[in-house]
Amino acid sequence: MVNNQSVSQGRDTGGMVMACLFIMMAVIALWDTTNMMDSDSFVFPRAIAIAIILFSLALIVWNLIKPVTEKKETVADASTLRRTALVAVMLASCALMPWLGFLLSGFATFVLLMLVAMYDKWTSKKVIIYPLIAAAVVAGFYTLFSKLLLVPLPVGLLFE
């Protein structure tokens, strides 16, 4: 799926929306600090939350009072589906890791991300070579981390 992205013209509406979200986040943080008894715990986060609110309000006010400038509209073709798929595959890999183990889930993630990032045509040579390279890269990193750096990578509940 390919869609057209455009940068909004004139006022920085997106920036102002983000500033509002930051204010909400800071208010939630302030509310959470009310449960803390020790002043050592809340004095710093409260100061920071208040600073965020003030800076965000200043950003909104600045955007409202400054003269509206004409921005160049940039249009770029970019695939939202591939972007979403990348994040979904990485998150799914984390979900499956405790069961499949790092090696297997890592290989599956590698192959799926290869499909997501593939724009060229699949040739028979690529179909054979790419998965082999994927296996070599995953196995290489797995060995480096688990054997040399002694990182206890998950083996997977299915294989224990």
Binding site: V87, M97, M114, I133, L150
Partner: protein, 503 residues
């Protein structure tokens, strides 16, 4: 200069091989997102137990030096700083790579890192005991203001809006508060989620905020990751050398800044590159090019961050206060070897410490050929590997690297989610750099703030505590300067223009 006999002691074949091995492995490890210098040094500590103390120190120093330089590769080629001290390298390094000058940027980073490393080691050799006093002059309030200085600097340096930079820095500081509180051990901002009790791991967040947005954009279009120039251009070493020679004053100034800021335990590494970058931009005649692929920007950061290696060793060896996490690991190894740190180490235990310092010079010199060769291969790999291979390889590296830090799958999830948040924020002009630096400096800032607040409240002199100490006032002046410098400069330029008859 301390005895030449120590120089010969450092130059034994075994030590040269150890230094070479250390620099190569450090550079490779530092270039992989998620693998830190601390981890590299920590893993190799057991090997050093059977070695001569000076050889062990040379190996660890070489790994550390190589790892700090290696961080520049991913900063330049992937827009992901391999180490926090390479954050400012992304500002100009990645734009240079996008313009097809990644090979030049790597050669420049190598020359600058060697220069910085040599300056830092020289300070360590000649001025360690008196300079260590600087670290003692900084109390909690000064560290708080220093952290704020770092954050205002990066907010001011971030492209676009200063307010957005400050909001990002605040967001980073709030993220640093998640989990168990530094001083009171209260559990904060976890909202009942057990996973968040351990807090947000800094390097994971760094990988997420820098690397995941690059991956998200990489898969979205069929375009090449970097502009490719197919003409064979070698290392572009001479070209880089000429550029470095023209900017020699900036290079030396950045190296000295890196050494001096590196002396301050904890804060040094992250802030040194930023201060040097900011100063280089301020004093450069091409300041408008900074942030758009200016070679001087890459050199300023890289010379400063490698100078922090020598600078960081000053409090470690003289006071026993580790300047950086790798210094802490090396300090532990020293204690196991039976070496007691302190000013007497430079007199009583001179043979070991001076052999080590000369070994650091050796490792820094070796970094030049090693860095150029590895950098060339890294660059070629990044520009020639098809996107269908590059994306999964980088994604897999980020996942395994993040997992390795605390052996936690949750950290990978947090890394990915922060990456998505960073990508969204970046689209609306909120740069990831202030957020990451806020997260890194959060604990230093909070400790300083809370300690100063407690003392000030108890003595009834809160304002004096924060604003009454000379070093604090100097740092506050720098903070104000970094925030209002564009306005001051604009005023100065417009008045100079009027005086010259332009009105």
């Amino acid at each position: 200069m301390p005895g030449i006999e120590y120089l010969f002691a450092a130059l034994t074949p075994v030590n040269i091989l150890l230094a070479l091995f250390g620099v190569v492995s450090g550079t490779v490890i530092g270039s992989l997102p998620g693998l830190t210098a601390t981890m590299a040094v920590a893993v190799l500590v057991p090997i050093t137990f059977s070695m001569e103390p000076s050889s062990a120190l040379i190996l660890m120093g070489a790994i550390y030096t190589g790892a700090i330089y290696g961080g520049a590769y991913s900063a330049i080629l992937l827009n992901t700083p391999g180490t926090p001290s390479a954050i400012a390298t992304t500002f100009d390094g990645f734009p240079m790579a996008k313009q097809g000058k990644g090979d030049l940027a790597i050669s420049l980073a190598c020359i600058a890192s060697v220069t910085g490393g040599l300056v830092g080691a020289t300070f360590l050799l000649l001025l360690a005991p008196p300079l260590a006093e600087v670290a003692l002059a900084f109390g909690p309030v000064e560290y708080f203001w220093l952290a704020i200085f770092g954050l205002t600097l990066i907010s001011a340096l971030s492209e676009g809006n200063l307010l957005k930079g400050l909001i990002g820095a605040g967001f980073g500081l709030l993220l640093a508060c998640v989990g168990v509180a530094e001083i009171s051990a209260d559990i904060r901002f976890t909202f009942g989620n057990q996973v968040l009790i351990g807090g947000i791991e800094t390097v994971s967040a760094l990988i997420g905020l820098y690397c995941v947005p690059v991956l998200i954009d990489l898969v979205a279009t069929p375009d090449k990751h970097l502009m490719v120039n197919y003409e064979p251009r070698g290392f572009r070493f001479l070209e880089a050398l000429v550029i470095a020679w023209k900017a020699k004053l900036s290079l030396l100034r950045s190296s000295v800044i890196g050494t001096l800021v590196g002396i301050l335990p904890g804060a040094g590494g992250s802030i040194a590159g930023l201060v040097a970058y900011s100063e280089a931009r301020r004093s450069s005649s091409r300041s408008k090019n900074f942030g758009h692929g200016e070679p001087e920007g890459v050199m300023a950061t890289e010379s400063a961050n490698n100078a922090t290696v020598g600078g960081g060793f000053i409090p470690t060896l003289v006071l026993g206060i580790p300047g950086t996490p790798p210094d802490a690991v090396i300090l532990g190894a020293l204690l196991i070897q039976g070496i007691r740190t302190g000013p007497s180490l430079f007199t009583g235990g001179g043979s070991i410490v001076y052999t080590f310092i000369y070994g650091l010079f050796l490792a820094t010199f070796l970094m030049l050929p090693v860095g150029l060769v590895i950098g060339r291969y890294a660059y070629k790999a990044i520009i020639t590997v098809p996107k269908a291979m590059l994306v999964p390889t980088v994604a897999f590296m980020t996942m395994i690297g993040t997992y390795a830090i605390r052996n936690s799958i949750s950290d990978i999830v947090i890394m990915i989610l922060l990456g998505v948040v960073g990508w969204i924020l970046n689209r609306y002009g909120f740069s990831p750099s202030p957020i990451v630096l806020g997260l890194i400096l959060g604990s230093i800032a909070e400790q300083g703030f809370v300690q100063a607040w407690t003392i000030g409240a108890a003595t009834g002199q809160l304002a004096k505590m924060f604003f009454g100490r000379p070093i604090s006032l100097v740092i506050i002046a720098f903070i104000l300067l970094s925030l209002f410098y564009p306005v001051i400069r604009k005023r100065l330029f417009s008045s100079a223009w009027r005086v010259s008859g332009g009105e």
